[in-house]
């Protein structure tokens, strides 16, 4: 379960729309499953329309900031511009469960233009996918 405010949800959707047609990505930080900060990161993939690769220096800076704030890294988010909000085979094979066993994989889908979707998944090192609840309040 991950909890976001309506504003935080809107921030992620706005980020996804602003990056269109490219995929965007970022990190959610907070405490006890409640998001407190939406950190946007740069997508440095060579083919950003269909892939994302989070800027490593952004990861370093953001994870340091999360540590210093005494927060937890709750999840990584990225957008799907043309597919549903479900982890692709690439998402699963590239998922860094080794480093971040507790972080959720959040996907914001713009497939239906008027109905952006945000879903969250736990992906383990073996590639098992389990959906987690996203509460927007």
């Amino acid at each position: 379960m991950i909890k976001l405010s309506r504003d935080q949800f809107d921030t992620i959707v706005a980020h996804a729309r602003s990056g269109f047609p490219n995929e965007i990505c970022g990190i959610l930080a907070g405490r006890d499953g409640q998001v407190e900060i939406v950190h946007q990161a740069r997508n440095v993939a060579r083919t950003p329309r269909t892939r994302f690769s989070m800027d490593p220096q952004d990861i370093l800076g953001i994870t340091d900031a999360i540590d210093e704030a005494g927060m937890d890294l709750l999840g990584f988010y990225h957008s799907h511009t043309h597919t549903q909000a479900y982890p692709s085979p690439t998402d699963v094979s590239d998922w860094p469960a080794h480093w971040y066993p507790d972080a959720l994989c959040l996907i914001c889908s713009l497939m239906e233009e008027d109905r952006p979707q945000l879903r969250a998944f736990h992906i383990d090192a073996a590639g098992e996918i389990e959906e987690a609840d996203v509460e927007i309040a």
């Binding site: 269909t50 690769s53 490593p56 220096q57 370093l60 692709s88 690439t90 998402d91 860094p96 233009e113």
Partner: protein, 106 residues
Amino acid sequence: MSVEIQVPTVLRPHTGGERVVHVEGDTVSAAIASLESRFPGLRTELLNDDGQVRQFVNIYVNDEDIRYLNRLDTKLADGDRMAILPAVAGGQYRVTDNLEGQAGVR
């Protein structure tokens, strides 16, 4: 020959919490060996059994990805900065799909 190595949060348990460590080494490979001698166990976090950089690891020298330099043989000079960073990536289609040209259509 001393180089500065930035250690990401996920690996700091290996370095006693240190964010930056200094080691000796004139190549990335030598620096990793010297890291391993100070912090046993760190090498296997970075390299696989074939001695190659793991999929979820990026190593940068002065902000350049060593995959685009000379990989583990990349030379280090006194004062160089090496960063070890976790890789976070994905994509909405299969790796083998080539939809890059069509993806903007909607």
